[in-house]
């Protein structure tokens, strides 16, 4: 039976390198995809992937299963590294792009083309992708700007020229609907 993330982290915390390697094999694709989405540079993304898992190894005592899942903790590490890297970059051509158009391009991307079917990440990605594409564009936009661009809610309101209360509502509706859709998808998968 496959060890859970939390069990593997117990092994990592006592210095089991093979446990880390299992976690790497399990989540490296997703971490790489997340970081690439933010920094948009393969070389830099690979460095940050290594750093993300190194921090999992070297700061394993920072993971508290009572405060959230391993994937939440891992993706938080990766996302923070990627956002910090992007903020330090001197030139961001993407900053000048039309965010709505960029998001529409993201939503139109067919994720099933290049992703290996055998990867657990691919399965999860398809579920989330399908759920996210079913969200109204303005709700998706709030989620994407908050998570992948690292904008605060006030920055999102300013960028989208939307009242702050509307931003709150859209975020809540988006995550609520996303939760429902993913619960259904997990049940169907089982």
């Amino acid at each position: 039976m496959q060890a859970s993330d939390e069990e593997l982290m117990v092994l990592v915390s006592v210095g089991d390198a093979e446990a880390l390697e299992v976690l790497y094999n399990r989540y490296a694709l997703a971490v790489m995809g997340l970081i690439m989405r933010i920094v948009e540079d393969r070389g830099e993304a690979e460095e940050l992937v290594q750093e993300s898992f190194w921090r999992v190894w070297s700061r394993s005592d920072g993971f508290n299963p009572q405060k959230g899942t391993f994937t939440n903790w891992l993706f938080t590490i990766s996302r923070n590294l990627a956002l910090d890297k992007r903020r330090r970059q001197t030139v961001r051509p993407q900053a000048a792009r039309n965010e709505t158009e960029a998001l529409q391009m993201e939503l139109s991307y067919d994720s099933s083309v290049n992703v290996p079917d055998s990867a657990w990440s691919a399965i999860r990605h398809r579920q989330v992708r399908q759920a996210m594409t079913s969200l109204p564009l303005e709700q998706y936009e709030v989620i994407a700007l908050a998570y992948f661009e690292g904008l605060t809610r006030r920055e999102i309101a300013q960028q989208t020229n939307t009242p702050l209360g509307t931003v709150h509502t859209r975020a809540r509706l988006a995550l609520s609907k996303l939760r429902q859709l993913l619960d259904v998808a997990r049940e169907e998968e089982v």
């Binding site: 210095g15 390198a17 880390l20 390697e21 790497y24 490296a28 694709l29 997703a30 790489m32 995809g33 997340l34 690439m36 989405r37 993304a45 690979e46 992937v49 290594q50 190194w54 190894w57 070297s58 005592d61 959230g68 899942t69 994937t71 939440n72 891992l74 993706f75 938080t76 990766s78 996302r79 923070n80 994720s111 290049n114 992703v115 290996p116 990440s121 691919a122 999860r124 990605h125 579920q127 989330v128 992708r129 996210m132 989620i143 908050a146 998570y147 690292g150 904008l151 605060t152 809610r153 999102i156 209360g165 709150h168 975020a171 809540r172 995550l175 609520s176 996303l178 939760r179 993913l182």
Partner: protein
Amino acid sequence: MRDSEDITALLPFYVLGALTEEEEAQVEAYLDDHPQERERLLSQLAGAADVAFEATPMEPSEEVKEALMRRVHADSRARSDGRAASHDRRPVVERQIERAHRDQARVPAVSRRLSPAFAFAAFALLALFLLSLWTVSLYDQVNRLASANETLQDEVTVLTGRVDDLTAQREILQQELDRQSELVALLAAPAQTLALSGTEPQPQAFGQFRILSDASAVLAVSQLEPLPAGRVYQLWLIHDDVPVPAGTFQIGSDGFGLLNVERIDSISTLDAIAVSEEPDGGSLEPTGDIVMFGEA
């Protein structure tokens, strides 16, 4: 302290990690004080991890895993050798790196980022850029000077032409002055003077015939019309009604003419003088119109 309604509004952004540090602390404080609320509220929302999976998975190169595992195995060996004895279980290398980062934080951000090679490349690019700007500036200056030079050349050409014109005018005026001076000198010398008037063909003409003491004479005429090519004016000394040719002359563009007669024979029998139009070289007797006449 925020109330439940505020926390509900902030929760989606708490989940997504999109709150400020202050806001995040407030939400965590609320959830810590209300553990049942934590479970209820968070269970209604998809997590950050779920959103993270929206990004398209990508496989990093094998080198990433190899490098990671080398570091992990090295650290694992170090731990088992007991060298990582402090509560800080991080490998020595990472502690050294963190210490280096702290040291670097004291260095201005610009110099921290610049490796020697990068600094040299940046300096070279800056120097190239400044050189390009200077080159463009010089090129522009050369063009302006060339244009100004052309303008000055044009002005020199115009002025040279004007100088030539003025020189020619000066020469003409000098000739006129010389002629006038000669006439003044002749007219001032003691002599017998005969006046001539224009006849019907050229009534406007007038002149003087001055017979000097040495029996030479000079004819000065004015306002005679210039003659076409092949024609001249001829002076006649009339003795006993017989015209004797005494020389030919041309008229200047100003209508003025002078003729020197070397010697007049038989001045005492001179009855009159006349001027006529004749062919080039003159005639033995008048053939053309008599245009001027004066009695002695």
